[in-house]
Symmetry: D3
Subunit: 261 residues, 6 copies
């Protein structure tokens, strides 16, 4: 079975992650997955939300928006309150990225990950997580290297991708033309030690059997491992330049995940 754009069912779209392209953020990444392009920026601000005061923890949160012509038809800006869809997406991104961070090591700071979709061709929420992690890691590596934190709060990498059933076939990384006719759509977020951070799976046209569901999880897990490698590649020059102890980070990651297993 060959897809519209020539991919095999288990292929990702071509992925490119560029850092520090636009603006003045402490860390930023422009992620492109095929025609989907999302500008992710990480803003570090002093202080924490009111409800977190006095708890010796920092905070990581996310905002998400479509530029009006990221879509084939113009999408109206959300200027008088957010839609449920937008809120759901930005809550998902925030939760996923908090799984990458030891919030107690971030005490006194709030990091906001802004995900602005420049071009939308399916999979914008998972691309936001994958690109958002790069922006977040950049910002926190730099904050640590600048001596503003005692220890680097990054504990593990997270990345995400979608998978779904289209016409009976299980496909990885759906583009918009596939997503809009999918029977079931699954978004998966994993850490770089293979632990599950989030599963969101929704029957659009029909409910699926347990066996079918398991196939989607396998497919998405494979894709995420490739994305995690691309994240490391994008971060490598900065990690090297700053001398961030990334090896230690990874062994530490593993121990946390092992503790869970």
């Amino acid at each position: 079975m060959i897809r519209n754009d020539g991919r095999a069912p288990s292929d990702l779209r071509p992925v490119r992650i560029s850092i520090d392209t636009y603006g003045y953020a402490e860390g930023s990444a422009l992620i492109e997955m095929g025609n989907t392009r999302v500008l992710c920026t990480a803003s570090v601000e002093e202080g924490v939300p009111q409800w977190l005061r006095g708890q010796q923890r920092g905070w990581v949160t996310a905002e998400y928006a479509l530029l009006p012509r990221s879509t084939a038809q113009r999408t109206r800006r959300e200027r008088n309150g957010l839609s449920g869809r937008t809120q759901e997406i930005q809550r998902l991104i925030g939760r996923a990225l908090r799984a990458a961070v030891a919030l107690e090591a971030l005490d006194g700071f709030t990091v906001t990950i802004d995900c602005d979709v420049l071009q939308a061709d399916g999979g914008t929420r998972t691309a936001s997580i994958t690109g958002g992690y790069v922006a977040l890691a950049l910002a926190l590596h730099r904050l640590t290297a600048a001596g503003r934190l005692a220890a680097n709060p990054i504990r593990r990498a997270v990345a995400a991708v979608s998978a779904g059933y289209v016409g009976g076939n299980a496909l990885l990384d759906l583009d918009y033309s596939e997503d809009s006719v999918a029977d079931m759509d699954c978004n998966l977020v994993l850490t770089d030690d293979g632990a599950i951070v989030e599963v969101q799976s929704t029957a659009e046209a029909r409910a699926v059997s347990r066996a079918e569901f398991d196939v989607l999880i396998d497919l998405a897990s494979d894709g995420i491992h490739r994305l995690l490698a691309l994240q490391r590649e994008a971060l490598a020059p900065v990690v090297e330049r700053l001398g961030v102890a990334s090896a230690e980070l990874q062994s530490e990651d593993r121990s946390v995940a092992d503790g869970g297993a």
Copy 2:
């Protein structure tokens, strides 16, 4: 391992579903799962949302709210826009209940399922789905019996429950004291032929392995089958009185799920 309230890990809390308790809805159910109590009402109105006009389909949607003192501390009413949490929950309920219905058989009508939480002790969104199905089925059975629809739009039952890891133990149907310390929380929605409608699984304190995740799905699936039986019991008197062709409905359900397998 014994839980606070004496349950085994795979026990549901005591469940009671009463119908037509308060108000004037076309169908309503008061579902109690332990101390969690949700009043679910189904309101049938003529007409469909603007974006659905001319598509020969009806619509099912949901709204969710906590009464202020359903919670131990007073929860403020959402009178100036909804929180992301509320929007997420009511979108989930709506999607789950639409999986029960053949929308083309509901052409010309919108059914709104209102889930008002009278008492909140964990699991309010899954209780809303389980109770909401009963309210919805009541309303549509009656609408069909009254001759206002050519065929009964109910295609299959849906029910939902949560499961999660607390202190390393996989537990079914978390109450609030368990939910607030859970490592990972999973909400599952199934049809009465065992197909998966929705999985929402979120790491709160730690990501889990694939094997751990599979245990939660198994646990929740078992719980849902018990809830589906209680739904049938609650509906039985009305189904009998109206002479709704429930047997046919079930065989039809199965064929749909088979088609998917």
Copy 3:
């Protein structure tokens, strides 16, 4: 003249007041007047509104909402600002209940009375006042008994009822079918020593003479005295158990009203 439901013009509908039915409030009452059913909860929170700071007084306020299917047709939730009707009703309830309380004895606390209408068949605002008083008294008796207040802030009971002209007849406690065709509608709030807290009388279809108006006030006054007895009955078990000095309270009430005369 006999009314639809068989009542005489000066009859109340069957009244039932149950306490502590749903939720976790410090005090709550479910009041039923015929088919009208309102869940009233009293929430005690520390602190007072900003504008009251430093004045050595506590505060009592109220919120009111219809559940969507409390009404024959579904009523939309007020999620983007309140209607004038709702604001008027909850301001009335708050004013009426503050008349029951010595705010200076409540220093440091805010009590919010939430009145959620489960079923609406006319007279929801007066039922909210009558039931709200029971919830408020329960909460304050308990707060006092728990030693958190130096003296019980409850000074007198308040209750309310409607009366109106329908087809030339003065009727007590209008149900919805009567209210919707009434010429004039009057809501009266009295204390248990017979003093007038609030009169709200509105000509719907025609203005009435002074003599006609006086008849309504007499009719409603009689009804309120019966409601005050039912409130005492509902509170009796708790008052006895806690040993609240209710007799003293009543004599104190009287002196206040005498001082006014």
Copy 4:
């Protein structure tokens, strides 16, 4: 007993009603009661609110606002939703003025009475009703005289005033210094044949006895008769010029009120 400004308890403040002072309204009145000054304008627009379509009736509604420096301290403009107080006041004004009009004779038109308070020294809502009637009558007399209506929809005059207890004395037409220390405040709206349109009586500092309440109604009734005469005087030049059949109107008024008695 002599009041701050030298009035006897049953005196109105000096009243002046000027017509067509500012702006381009179909009818307008600037009413001054002592230092309280309200600009009332009546705007006639074609069409009726959506919910009234097809009912062969017109509509009369009101809006009310304080100019920021009508008050001793600057009052913030209500630019993001209305306060409960404002909504209550404009609903009262609207109801009161609809009692003056045969809505079926106004079919096809909406009249909006805007009451903008230029200077606030107590009694702004009752001044708005009294002045608003003059603006409304002007607009409808002119609309009728212009041949745009088959019959004049004005059926009777309405006027309003406040009365209240201050330090044990029953006083008519409270100014702000009196209102702010009143024990009980009563707003009364009457027609020119003496029928009661609205009573709103609220205990501020203490509840009052029935006898005390009756005194306030008597006091306010007397004041309103004087205001009705001043309204007639203000309208007289226009009524004469247009040749509006004011005599007939008044006899008709009376018959309506008689029917009610």
Copy 5:
């Protein structure tokens, strides 16, 4: 060329500025330019906006609103957020009036200039600036005379007027009938030493040449000098009574403008 109302192209409409007409403001002016009438009030409040704290400066800001029947057709009140037009106008008024004031001499105070249009016949924003200056100067002269400020913060007078092209003719002080058909409209704000505070010039129907633009600036400058004289006249009685050092003020003004040249 003679205009509708008989004016020559370079004539202002009849101007009248009255002070302290309505309300309780620390300073107020009712400015009438032909049929345009704006009530401008200056409210002095202690404290400065949050973003200005600790900067040893006071603040001057403005609000602007049309009364509903200031216009030929009723204009809706802006009760749920402001239109872009209103925001633009009140930002312009605020900026213009701040040019009159040494904010450091106003440390600790905020002055709000409210411009409420009673009647709108074109040029309401420029009338608001011209009248607003009088209200502001009154308030600050009085605040200084009362000893609440070490020095009078008024540094220079500002006034404003419009000019535009109508049918090829350059006209001063457009009324509504002219403004609505103008090709280009220019609003100019000058100080009393002739310096330019603000130019806002907008092509409505056609862009104009540089030479044409210069003609408008000349025309408006002449008009503003006449308005500045009328402001002085309106303020003279108060300036004299309070003994405000107005001569010094003016020489100081000039030096500031010279410094700029």
Copy 6:
């Protein structure tokens, strides 16, 4: 005098205009003026705003937003209503671009120009106009070439730039470091035949003399002519490919401006 970035007072920053970079708009331009980068997209939609129905004209409007990290400090998204600044800017952009278009030739269509600032270093509103014209021209050239319009509605080009006084020097095209200390700031919009579309000149720190003001207008006019050339260059490939009659357009432009002179 040499500026921070080495420019002479009358130099523009380096300008680059790229077309069709991101998204799916009918026309788009990414304009870079030094570090200021704005993505301008033109969206063509069928239909016109309600207030324009039946007038045989199309419409051009604009929206403007800063991406959160376009600025050195994170700027909050405007999700609950727009600030006055944003409204002012997008109204300015819309007016300026409408001057480029014969709206009657656009009958039946609305074009929305979205200006999203990716990086903000001063002059974002003028860059939005200059880049927005390119996006608009692209979209309308294509719409015309596709045969959906009888005639190309583009009548003339428009471009804009700022100029201002910094420390006594008149500078062209201020960057943020200059803008934030400017005494006076002027934004000018011209057509390609030299006519003035809009002048917005605001004294920040001091008012300026007429002679000083004239210098700014000269400086900005020169800058705009260079920008108009760069616009033509950016559009040339598309204009050639589509064979749009650009020569005719320009002569037509000139006649319109001559008609005005």
